[in-house]
């Protein structure tokens, strides 16, 4: 390889079996999930779909594990130049932007429903069919009485912002601070500080998720607030649910980074994996602040 300086500047990996297995895993995952959902809605046996889903999940997870391991190996082997690292930085930034747009769709749906749909259903502007179908419907938010309670029995109480949601806000904001302290530890070359504060961040993420499980349990059992409770339950669970899924992913990413930190993978000038996970964590934190404001405080 000494006679060949051609790849000195930018690492172009050789042929790889990873992507095709990742594609296969992804396909099996969604095909299995689709099959499972269809059988579930039809009231039939979901075993086949569930098995395909699990198989796909295993294939995808294994492939991604090998893939990321390989990237870490290549990085340790000093195959990546600064330019290569910039590609990862740009890549992660644009990925987070795409996630922002995903949440934008659901926030947009919430705003549209509150600003237009609910008043129109109650007859504002004499818009014809929407107020003729349910002439007695009165606009309110949170929508506890749906236009047709036989199809969509509304919740009897809305989810307030005091209590668990406020605790969760404090947990997530704190975790953003702790992950930053961990980053400082990394920059100072202080491994103990890095591991301690990163461990604390992961713990806060897990406690947050635990609180969210409690909150959902409370919503279903005490408040009658369900996915089927009309548009209030719909937007509540879809926004907080997708956020929760992202917190789960973010916590998992930070956990992996914690293990890597314990193994001694990071240096102050070589810690992209950690930084990417930290950016992702700040992103889910910011989304939560949006949720806390628009779903909890202004929504109850």
């Amino acid at each position: 390889m000494a006679n060949d300086a051609t790849y000195q500047n930018y690492y172009v990996p050789a042929d790889s079996k990873l992507p095709i297995f990742a594609s296969l895993g992804l396909f099996l995952t969604v095909f299995g999930m689709g099959n499972m959902f269809n059988e579930m809605t039809a009231g039939a046996d979901t075993t086949f779909g569930t098995m395909v889903l699990l198989l796909g999940g295993v294939v995808l997870a294994t492939t991604l594990f090998v893939w990321f391991s390989k990237v870490i190996e290549e990085s340790h082997a000093k195959l990546y130049s600064d330019q290569m690292n910039r590609s990862y930085v740009w890549g992660m930034s644009w990925f987070i932007f795409s996630e922002v747009m995903f949440f934008a769709a659901f926030f947009g749906a919430l705003f549209y429903v509150r600003a237009f749909v609910v008043p129109w259903l109650a007859g504002e502007g004499n818009r014809g069919p929407s107020d003729m179908l349910w002439p007695n419907y009165v606009a309110e938010w949170p929508m506890l009485n749906t236009p047709d309670p036989t199809l969509f029995p509304g919740a009897h109480t809305a989810m307030g912002w005091w209590g668990l949601p406020l605790i969760n806000t404090i947990l997530l904001v704190t975790s953003s601070v702790t992950v930053t302290i961990a980053h400082h530890g990394l920059n100072e070359g202080n491994r103990k500080k890095l591991i301690t504060w990163l461990g604390l961040t992961v713990a806060l993420g897990i406690v947050f998720l635990g609180c969210q499980v409690l909150e959902y349990y409370h919503a279903y059992t005490d408040l009658g607030l369900t996915l089927n409770a009309g548009i209030y339950g719909t937007t509540f669970f879809m926004l907080t649910g997708f956020h929760g899924a992202h917190v789960t992913l973010g916590t998992f990413m930070l956990l992996v980074m914690l293990i890597r930190a314990i193994k001694g993978h990071f240096k102050a000038d070589d810690c992209f994996g950690f930084e990417a996970a930290a950016w992702y964590w700040h992103f889910v934190d910011v989304v939560w602040l949006g949720l806390f404001l628009f779903v909890y405080i202004l929504g109850s």
Partner: protein, 534 residues
């Protein structure tokens, strides 16, 4: 671990492609992946085209002849989905893969393994989508715009697989676009500033940005459908406080930028081809960049013009009408620049140039009918008629698809090392040109006369134009087999192509031999700015 690393080092430095079929499955090479995308898109083009011919065969005469109405609906739906997501978009991604690294002097795409992943998701996605046609209850039958509640409450069970196929396409597009953006921002050869990039690279940079911004919104809207269908939510059900119109807002917030995703790279291609065959520099390079950016910005704030008749407050109708008309300004700048580039040029009319000129003329016709549709009160008359069908087929077929064909003819010698058969190429062009116009021009008339779209039967007064339209469609469809023959012939034989290929061609890709070596620009050289700028 060190043994594995050694092996990497060894593999990195191989120079030719791997042997055998698995080369295509495992490849990380941008040229191989570009080729895969292009062949895949051509297969989808033939499949979607077959569906179109089923539609045109049924509409050849009034009355119900060949297919049942339910199947006709599945054909209109699948034709649109396959052409948009399977033919046009992957073709542009294939061109981006082949050309962007060569145009900016990069060794490959920025993230080569993810590049392979982006492609190989697609065959799975489209196999799943196409297989819905064979499922119980039939395939998706609600039009490619899949408006709720047709696509939720009243949809066949196969809609679930459609939703997940859209998710796969979205994942593929987002990863592909991140790769394009990162390659352009990070891998330009030293000395190439943004304003020295070829316009094809510029238009793709902006397209990729649009894709990253709106594909997640599409993922969001199909997820809402999935939840409404299987988990009792009420996004699109007014009985629970939701609204079917909400679907249309979210869909078109994706859908309108999507329209530009399918045309901006075409602008880049035409801006490369016209200067070459006019033997002049492109007129108004900077204004082209600004016009493209303006179009991209405007695409986010005009979605409501697809929804004039669904019921919107008057202020909304007026806003969306005027905002939409604004798009004519940057688009006009572009058309003006292309014409000004040709003005007093030493023009020759090889096949790519013929397709490019036809693009300028016919895309402009489609643009002008779009301007007619933007007038809200007039749109109340045009909505859901064949006039709309004529409009968007003029911008997509002699627009996007002609530009893709122009690009293939233009860069094919660089890819294969052979010149294609010029006489056959010109024959293909004239058959396609005549076929497209015979198919879609009469649709303007029957649309204005009131023939609705997506209906398998029609009133007798529309019979003559429908017959002409169907004849044109079969002419256009079967002409594409000639295209296949020309491309295969060019891969196998043909006159040896020079490095520059075309006398008037400028740009880094014309400085490397034809066919381009498997790895180009392994070491980034200082860019020859004159070459880069063209």
């Amino acid at each position: 671990m060190s043994a594995i690393i050694e092996e990497h080092h060894h593999d990195d430095h191989h120079h030719g492609p791997a042997k055998g079929l698995m080369r295509w499955v495992f490849t990380t090479n941008h040229k191989d992946i570009g080729t895969l995308y292009l062949w895949f898109s051509f297969m989808m083009f033939l499949l979607g085209g077959t569906f179109a011919l089923v539609i045109r065969a049924e509409l050849f005469q009034p009355g119900l002849q060949l297919v049942a109405p339910e199947f006709f609906n599945q054909m209109t739906t699948m034709h649109g989905l396959i052409m948009v997501f399977g033919a046009v978009m992957p073709a542009f991604v294939g061109l981006a893969n082949w050309l962007i690294p060569m145009m900016i002097g990069a060794p490959d795409m920025a993230l080569p393994r993810m590049n392979n992943y982006s492609f190989w998701i697609l065959p799975f996605a489209f196999t799943m989508l196409a297989s819905t046609l064979l499922m119980e209850g039939g395939g998706p039958n609600f039009g490619w715009t899949f408006y709720a509640p047709l696509s939720t409450t009243y949809a066949p069970p196969s809609v679930t697989y459609f939703i997940f196929a859209v998710h796969l396409m979205g994942i593929s597009s987002i990863m592909g676009s991140i790769n394009v953006v990162v390659t352009i921002l990070n891998l330009r050869a030293p000395g190439m500033t943004l304003m020295q990039m070829p316009l094809f690279v510029w238009t793709w940079l902006i397209t990729a940005y649009l894709l990253i911004a709106v594909m997640p919104v599409l993922a969001g809207v199909v997820t809402m459908m999935l939840m409404d269908i299987h988990f009792g939510t009420s996004f699109f059900n007014a009985a629970g406080g939701g609204d079917p119109v909400l679907f249309q807002h979210v869909f078109w917030f994706f859908g309108h930028p999507e329209v530009y995703i399918m045309i901006l790279p075409a602008f880049g291609i035409v801006s490369a081809i016209i200067p070459t065959f006019a033997r002049k520099r492109l007129f108004g390079y900077a204004s082209m960049v600004y016009a493209t950016s303006s179009i991209a910005f405007l695409s986010f704030i005009v979605w409501g013009h697809h929804m004039f008749t669904v019921g919107m407050p008057l202020a909304g109708e007026l806003y969306f009408m005027y905002a939409t008309m604004l798009i004519a300004v940057p688009t006009g700048v572009k058309v003006f620049n292309w014409i000004a580039t040709m003005w007093q040029g030493s023009m020759t009319f090889e096949t790519p140039m013929l397709f490019a000129i036809a693009f300028v003329v016919l895309f402009t016709i489609g643009g002008l009918s779009g301007l007619m549709l933007s007038i809200a009160p007039a749109d109340f008359q045009y909505q859901d008629t064949y006039f709309v069908v004529a409009h968007f087929h003029y911008v997509l077929v002699p627009g996007s698809i002609f530009s893709i064909m122009a690009a293939v003819y233009y860069w094919l010698p660089k890819w294969t090392g052979h010149m294609y058969d010029e006489k056959l190429g010109k024959t293909h062009f004239w058959l396609s040109f005549i076929g497209v116009n015979v198919t879609f021009f009469p649709q303007h008339f029957i649309g204005l006369a009131g023939m609705p779209r997506r209906i398998p039967d029609y009133a007798l007064q529309f019979a003559d134009y429908n017959m002409i339209s169907s004849v044109g469609a079969f002419l256009f469809g079967f002409s594409q087999l000639l295209f296949l023959v020309i491309v295969i012939k060019c891969i196998k034989t043909g006159k040896q192509a020079t490095a520059q290929v075309w006398e008037g061609a400028h740009g880094l890709e014309w400085t490397v031999p034809s066919p381009a070596p498997y790895h180009t620009f392994s070491t980034p050289d200082e860019v020859n700015l004159k070459e880069a700028h063209g």
